[in-house]
C-alpha cells in the first residue's frame, strides 16, 4: 500500500523539497498552506493546495486537527510533516493513524520516548551508547571531589532540582570542586530548597556531530554517515558538513555503531538523527538526543551518499522495506551546506522579512540550492526567515570549500538583508579552512571581529 496521494504539512523550502520527492515517485501532492503562503512555490508546484487558516502558525500549521482533517478530506493516504511545526508532536501520527493516513515518520510512542530527555538517555544507556560522564546525587563537598576525580576535570556543578544555568559552577580540579560545591549548593538551597547537585564532565571545546539514520520498522536500521554541525550561533546551526573529517575513522565507525544500535533497540521507523557531542581533546563522543524527523541539513548526507532520503521516507511510510543495504551505501567526497536566512547580521541577526527584488542563484558542478525563493517572492513575517540552503559537494573538503566560496560570491539576493555575507566570511576564515572550529567558535571568534 504505497502512498498514492501525499499531504505536506509544512511550508518553505522543505515543502517544495517534499513535493519534488513525491513527484519523482509519481505520488500526487496536496500542500497545506496558511493564508500567507497561498502563492508559495510549493503550492504552485503541487497538484493542489489547501488553505488551513490565517497566517498565524497556531491557527494553521500548528493545529494538528486542521492538518489531519484537510489531509483526509482532500483524499490523501499519506502525510509528511517536514521539520519543525508538528513534526515531533506525537498527536499528529496518532490522529493520522485514527484516520487511515500513513505518517511519514516514526511511531508516536517512539516520538514521545525520544522527546523525553530522561527516557532517551535511559534508552541510550541500555543500548550501550556513551553518555556524558556524570553523577546526579552529589550531596557533600567530599562527594564532589571524589566524583570530580572519577569523572575527570573540568566538571560542571549545578542544582539537581532546577533547570537552566542558575548557580552553575565549573571546577578544574578537586579543590575547585569542593569550593564549587559549597557555593553552588548554597545557591541551590536558596533557589530550590534542595542543595543536592548534579555534576557532569564539562567539554570546553566540543564539536556537534550527528548520525543520519533510517529505519524501516521491519527490523532494519541503516546509517548514512555523520554530519559535523559545529558552526552555531545560540545553538542554531549555520553551516553543516559531511563527513566529520575532524573525527578519526575508528571513532566514526563507533559513532555509527552506537547510533544504529540505539535506533535498532526501539525498532525505529523512518528518518531520524542521533546527535552527539564530540570531545576533541579526549577523543570521545557523548549522546545528546535523537531528532525524530528529517532535518534541515539532510542534503549534505544526500550529497555524499547519492541517496534521496526524502524519497526513501515516503517509500518506507508506504510500508516498503529499506531499498538499500549498509554495504550499498557508499559515502564519497565532502559536502557543506550554508543555511541562508533573511536576517540583518548588523542588528543582532534581526529577522528581516520582505520581498525579494533580485535573485541570482548560483549553479555549477557540485552545487545544489534548496530554496523556495525567486525574484518577486515574499518572505512573510510570521515564520522563520529562511531564504534557502546552499550546498556544495567536492571530492574533498578543500574542493567543497572552493566550490561553496565561488557559489556564495555568485549568489545575489536583493530586497531583504541576508546572511550570505556572513557565510562568505565563515568559509573564507583560516579557522574554518583549517577545520579548527568548535560549537562556540562563531560566537567567540568570528562574530566579535565583524561587530555582529
Amino acid at each position: 500500500m504505497a502512498i498514492k496521494r501525499l499531504f505536506i504539512a509544512n511550508r518553505g523550502e522543505i515543502a517544495l523539497r517534499i513535493v519534488r520527492a513525491a513527484q519523482a515517485l509519481n505520488v500526487e501532492t496536496v500542500v497545506a498552506v496558511s493564508a500567507a503562503d497561498r502563492d508559495s512555490a510549493a503550492a504552485r508546484m503541487a497538484d493542489c493546495a489547501v488553505v488551513l487558516g490565517p497566517p498565524a502558525a497556531a491557527k494553521s500549521y500548528l493545529d494538528p486537527r486542521l492538518v489531519v482533517h484537510a489531509a483526509k478530506e482532500s483524499g490523501c493516504d499519506g502525510l509528511h510533516p517536514g521539520y519543525g511545526f508538528l513534526s515531533e508532536r506525537a498527536i499528529l501520527p496518532r490522529l493520522c493513524a485514527q484516520n487511515g493516513i500513513a505518517f511519514v515518520g516514526p511511531e508516536p510512542d517512539a516520538i514521545d520516548a525520544l522527546g523525553d530527555k530522561i527516557q532517551a538517555r535511559a534508552m541510550a544507556r541500555a543500548a550501550g551508547v556513551p553518555l556524558v560522564p556524570g553523577c546526579d546525587g552529589v550531596a557533600t563537598a567530599a562527594d564532589a571531589r571524589r566524583e570530580g576525580d572519577r569523572i575527570g576535570y573540568p566538571v560542571l556543578l549545578k542544582a539537581a532540582a532546577g533547570g537552566g544555568g542558575r548557580g552553575m559552577v565549573i571546577a578544574h580540579n578537586g579543590d575547585e570542586a569542593e569550593a564549587g560545591f559549597q557555593r553552588a549548593s548554597a545557591e541551590a538551597v536558596a533557589a530550590f530548597g534542595d542543595g543536592t547537585l548534579f555534576m557532569e564532565r564539562f567539554v570546553p571545546q566540543a564539536r556537534h556531530v550527528e548520525v543520519q539514520l533510517m529505519g524501516d520498522g521491519h527490523g532494519k536500521v541503516l546509517h548514512f554517515g555523520e554530519r559535523d554541525c559545529s558552526v552555531q550561533r545560540r545553538y542554531q546551526k549555520l553551516v553543516e558538513e559531511a563527513p566529520c573529517v575532524a573525527m578519526p575513522d575508528h571513532l566514526r565507525a563507533q559513532l555509527h555503531q552506537s547510533a544504529t544500535a540505539l535506533a535498532a533497540s526501539v525498532n525505529y521507523r523512518n528518518a531520524g538523527t542521533a546527535e552527539f557531542l564530540f570531545d576533541v581533546a579526549r577523543q570521545e563522543f557523548y549522546f545528546i538526543e535523537v531528532n525524530a524527523r528529517i532535518q534541515v541539513e539532510h542534503p549534505v548526507s544526500e550529497m555524499i551518499s547519492g541517496f534521496d532520503l526524502v524519497q526513501e521516507q515516503i517509500r518506507i511510510a508506504g510500508g516498503a522495506s529499506l531499498s538499500v543495504s549498509q554495504e550499498q551505501i557508499k559515502l564519497s567526497g565532502h559536502a557543506i551546506e550554508c543555511r541562508i536566512n533573511a536576517e540583518d547580521t548588523s542588528r543582532g541577526f534581526l529577522p528581516s522579512p520582505g520581498r525579494i527584488t533580485r535573485w541570482n542563484a548560483p549553479s555549477g558542478e557540485g552545487i545544489r540550492l534548496d530554496s523556495h525563493m525567486s525574484e518577486g517572492a515574499m518572505i512573510p513575517p510570521f515564520y522563520d526567515s529562511m531564504v534557502g540552503k546552499l550546498i556544495a559537494h567536492g571530492k574533498d573538503r578543500a574542493e567543497a570549500i572552493a566550490r561553496l566560496s565561488a557559489a556564495l560570491e555568485e549568489f545575489v539576493v536583493e530586497g531583504v538583508p541576508t546572511t550570505i555575507g556572513l557565510h562568505r566570511q565563515i568559509v573564507a576564515h583560516p579557522d574554518f579552512i583549517e577545520n579548527r572550529i568548535h560549537t562556540r567558535w562563531l560566537e567567540q571568534v568570528l562574530l566579535p571581529t565583524i561587530g555582529a
Binding site: 496558511s34 493564508a35 489547501v50 488553505v51 488551513l52 487558516g53 490565517p54 491557527k59 494553521s60 493545529d63 486537527r65 486542521l66 489531519v68 482533517h69 484537510a70 483526509k72 478530506e73 482532500s74 490522529l95 484516520n99
Partner: protein, 141 residues
Amino acid sequence: MTDKKDSSHAAIQDARALLDTMLAHDWQELHVVSGGIEIFLARREGCANPMRARMVAAPSIAPPLPLGKEVPIKAPHVATVVSLAQVGKAVAAGDTVVVLRVLDEEHRVVAAGAGVVESVGAAVGDLVEFDMPLLTLREAA
C-alpha cells in the same frame, strides 16, 4: 472693471494665480469659495469634486428603500460543511447559520447581527478552506 465681462476675466486671473500657488506648494487639491466665485482644482483625475457632487445630489429623486448592508460569512478555518441556513431564512444575532466539522468535532458559525440569508456560497459536504465564503447575510436596515 465691474461689468460682467471684467468680472469673469478677474475670475480667470484668480484661477491662474490659485493654480500657480497650488503648484508652488505641492498641494493636491484646492477649493475656494470667495464672493460669487467657487473654484476647485485637483492634480489627480477622478478625485471627489465637491461642486460636481452638489450638482448630482441636486435633483430630488425619491431615495431607494433602505437596505441593510451585506455581510459575508467566511470559513474561519479549513472544515467540511455539515449544514447551511437556506436562502431567505431570517436569523437573529447569535443564531447558528453554518455548522462545520473538523474530524469528528462540529463547530457552529453564528450570525453577528439579525438579517436574512441572501445567498449561499458552499454546499453540504464541501471541504471549505479558510476565508472561503459560506453565505451572505443581508442585515436588517
